[in-house]
């Protein structure tokens, strides 16, 4: 076996092959050293083999972790996943034994979707640990788990988790067929898988929710949604979802009623502001200044009088600055990140206004746009909403307020047209048509 394995792999120093013998039998073992736990190998294979307290052949036959391998074509795959191959030279039988040692983050804290009083632990990059969290939070016998792997090279393992009682079969079939039809070399991140699942290359809104919170996953399972876990990423995908799920912070369920409702209202106001405000600024300042109160009109006129360019150039200058600033502070190492915000936010904003490049009102508009964008609880929606303001700005340059209105109308129509795994994406509360199925919530009230 060992010669054949050495032929199968490229010249690799970390490929270990040995032949061991004791008084009764001799075996060949082969494994890739970095992927395996050497301690496990010595504890379970070499030490029992040499000590001969129990005949090793008997151990191979009785312990279920030793799997008998018939097909030599699976050798490579098994070894690449951290298995040790053992060959009993006398009988010629080959066994595999899993000793995988995958490096992953140890039950991390939530970082992307933080909650003050909710569970603080996030999903792990290891599927077993993630499933541990989910099973603990949702201890129901009806939880079904299916295994898939995607990527011709990466062979990333996926787990599809759902509650058998509540899941909508049509959604499940849809997810299954999408997963098996994926043809790609590598998949490493949840967002990548999301794009493959949706199938559209250019989508404006996310139709799959990406989360790191096990409590959100447990809640979704109880509502009959399908959850896909991906190995090596601490984010899970939840589908199908509606637009309103993205606007829902998990903490809305944990905190006092009136304030959370107020926060939800504020969130929707913010999303409207962050999309329309730059466009409305252009439309009102350049087309319909009578919409302002008269004091505001005069102070804007006065602060704009130093600005040499038309209002839209001003908007572009400021929006370019703020987008660059956000991008920089995400990509920079954490230690320099705060410097970027200080330099950009405080110094540049102040200086741009004093230099007469932008008006002081525009600084406020820009900050409102940026801050209200951060209010959106799910990052993927927040990211796609960041783009939405630009088409509206273009419309407002040429058509003023009516352009903004038509642009918003187009957005709403597009949202209504969207489907998330066959379920209406933008459905407000309405009667559920039993023929059509619920939004992935067959039994939920």
């Amino acid at each position: 076996m060992n010669e054949r394995i050495r032929l199968l792999f490229a010249e690799a120093a970390d490929l270990k092959t040995y032949t061991l013998s004791n008084s009764t039998m001799s075996i060949e073992i082969a494994y890739i050293a970095p992927l395996c736990d050497e301690k496990m190998i010595s504890d379970f294979i070499t030490v029992p083999f040499t000590k001969e307290e129990i005949p090793y052949r008997k151990q191979l036959d009785t312990i279920p972790e030793y799997l008998k391998i018939e097909d030599p074509a699976r050798w490579q795959d098994l070894m690449l996943r951290g298995n040790v191959l053992i060959k009993d030279i006398d009988s010629g039988e080959i066994f595999s034994f899993f000793t995988g040692d995958v490096i992953c983050n140890e039950s991390p804290q939530t970082q992307v979707e933080s909650a003050i009083q909710g569970p603080q632990i996030a999903l792990s990059e290891d599927l077993n640990k993630s499933m541990n969290l989910i099973r603990t939070m949702y201890p129901a016998p009806e939880v079904a788990v299916e295994e898939y792997s995607v990527g011709y090279i990466s062979k990333t393992p996926l787990l599809v988790v759902f509650d058998q009682r509540h899941v909508d079969p049509s959604v499940l079939d849809n997810v299954r067929s999408k997963l098996s039809s994926i043809s790609i070399d590598m998949v490493h991140a949840a967002g990548e898988l999301e794009k493959l699942l949706i199938g559209k290359r250019r989508h404006l809104f996310p139709t799959v929710l990406i989360t790191e919170r096990p409590d959100r996953i447990a809640k979704s399972l109880s509502k009959g949604k399908v959850v896909v876990l991906i190995k090596g990423s601490m984010f899970a995908l939840i589908m199908p979802v509606s637009f309103f799920d993205f606007m829902h912070a998990i903490e809305d369920n944990y905190e006092a009623y009136w304030m959370t409702r107020t926060l939800i209202v504020i969130r929707y106001l913010s999303i409207i502001l962050t999309i329309t405000l730059p466009a409305l600024y252009i439309a009102i300042v350049s087309y319909n200044p009578e919409l302002f109160r008269v004091q505001l009109a005069f102070s804007i006129a006065a602060s704009r009088s130093a600005v040499p360019y038309p209002s839209y150039i001003e908007v572009f200058v400021m929006l370019f600055m703020i987008e660059a600033l956000i991008e920089a502070s995400i990509r920079l190492p954490r230690y320099i990140g705060s410097t970027a915000t200080t330099v950009g936010g405080l110094i540049l904003g102040q200086a741009a206004q004093q230099a007469g490049l932008v008006s002081s009102i525009m600084i406020i508009v820009t900050s409102v746009v940026a801050i209200s964008n951060f209010v959106i609880p799910i990052n993927s929606l927040s990211f796609s909403v960041r783009f939405l303001k630009y088409p509206l700005i273009a419309a407002s340059i040429f058509f003023g307020i009516s352009g903004v209105a038509v642009g918003l109308f187009l957005y709403v129509s597009y949202l209504c047209n969207l489907r998330s795994f066959g379920k209406p994406y933008f459905r407000l509360h309405g009667k559920v048509n039993p023929a059509e199925g619920d939004v992935g919530q067959v039994r939920a009230k």
Partner: protein, 363 residues
């Protein structure tokens, strides 16, 4: 492909509806008040005064900067167009909330001016109308020292934000236009008087028929008129009780009227209910019987109100809308003709109900 074609055609369709051109706010000259006067010259009868705001980043008392432009023109629209040649930025009436018509012009004909205001699309329908005395131009040139930004003082006087004077009668452009066109309800406007110094007084109301001033009420009548037309109800009232003067503040006032009979003479009964508090009263009133005081006050109020109604009737105008009510209650082809015959002989009856809520003092 089809989708892009649809989107493109939608954008093209939008091109047809873009109303106003792209013009930045700092390239516009905001007109904060417009005055229209009679110039005395037959060939160029209208004297147009525009109060233009010069925007300044500082908004503080006394910091308002204003530019004036005045021109005589054969028509208002022409005058405004000619004025554009005098200024460097585009004139914008979007913030013109004060429209002042000179008294001389108001005594001749206001319909032409009103029509211009209604037709021009950037003049808001909520703009306030008033009469300027002696001329709109002199009123506009008053620069109150407290003014924080251009046009602020007049706006505060007429709006609900600033002073609440019981002598002030605020009428919007749309309200005035409605009264001009509606049979049976005549327009009225407040008069802004320039007292020759750096301030103005607004304490009189001019009553119009459909085109010009018919009569001007005295300040006392103006206050009464405002109360009876439910226009402004927080007011004070003077009275005498057994030889001692009383001043009462009206907290709440409701007035309504109804018509009785539709053959001559029609009887118009006006009910005025008010809750009052004493502002000045003789000592010891708290322990006395308030009923007799209430009665005495009511009688006095009724007398004054009937006198005012009679005066309005004598001038043949109808700012309360009695005629409109008659047309609504007794509809028919001849309703309006009947009313024009009935109104000059109509009888008035005012029932005032005064309720004293307290003496204003805690014992």
């Amino acid at each position: 492909m089809n989708r892009y074609a649809a989107l493109l055609s939608l954008l093209l369709a939008l091109l047809t509806i873009s109303g106003c051109g792209f013009k930045d706010i700092d390239k516009r000259f905001f007109v904060v008040a417009t005055g229209i006067d009679w110039s005395g010259n037959k060939s160029k009868p209208y004297r147009i005064t525009l109060q233009l705001a010069i925007p300044s980043p500082k908004i503080e008392p006394g910091a308002s900067k204003i530019q004036y432009e005045t021109i005589d023109a054969p028509s208002i629209a022409e005058g405004v167009r000619m004025l554009k040649a005098y200024v460097d930025k585009e004139l914008d009436f979007g913030h013109c909330k004060m429209m002042i018509i000179g008294e001389e012009l108001a005594k001749r004909d206001i319909n032409h001016s009103i029509e211009w205001m209604l037709r021009r699309r950037d003049i808001q329908s909520v703009a306030t109308l008033a009469i300027g005395r002696p001329t709109a131009e002199t009123v506009l040139h008053v620069r109150p020292a407290s003014e924080r930004y251009p046009g602020n003082a007049l706006l505060l006087s007429f709006g609900a934000d600033g002073t609440e004077s019981s002598y002030n009668y605020a009428e919007t452009l749309s309200g005035f236009a409605r009264r001009v066109s509606e049979k049976g309800m005549d327009p009225a406007l407040a008069i802004i008087t320039n007292d020759g110094k750096e301030s103005y007084i607004i304490n009189q109301v001019a009553l119009f028929d459909k085109e010009k001033i018919k009569t001007i009420l005295t300040p006392a009548e103006t206050q009464l008129f405002n109360q009876m037309s439910d226009h402004f109800t927080k007011a004070s009232m003077h009275g005498m009780f057994k030889g001692t003067p009383l001043v009462i503040a009206i907290n709440q006032l409701n007035s309504s009227f109804r018509l009785q009979g539709h053959t001559a003479p029609v009887r118009i009964t006006m009910k005025v209910k008010m809750d009052v508090v004493f502002e000045e009263a003789p000592n010891g009133l708290f322990d006395k019987d308030w009923l007799s005081v209430e009665d005495a006050l009511a009688t006095e109020y009724e007398k004054a109100a009937v006198a005012l109604l009679k005066k309005i009737q004598r001038h043949g105008v109808d700012p309360f809308g009695f005629g409109l009510r008659y047309r609504a209650v007794y509809p028919g082809k001849n309703a309006w003709n009947n009313w024009t015959q009935l109104y000059p002989d109509a009888e008035f009856n005012v029932e005032a109900m005064v309720k004293i809520e307290g003496t204003g003092l805690i014992r």
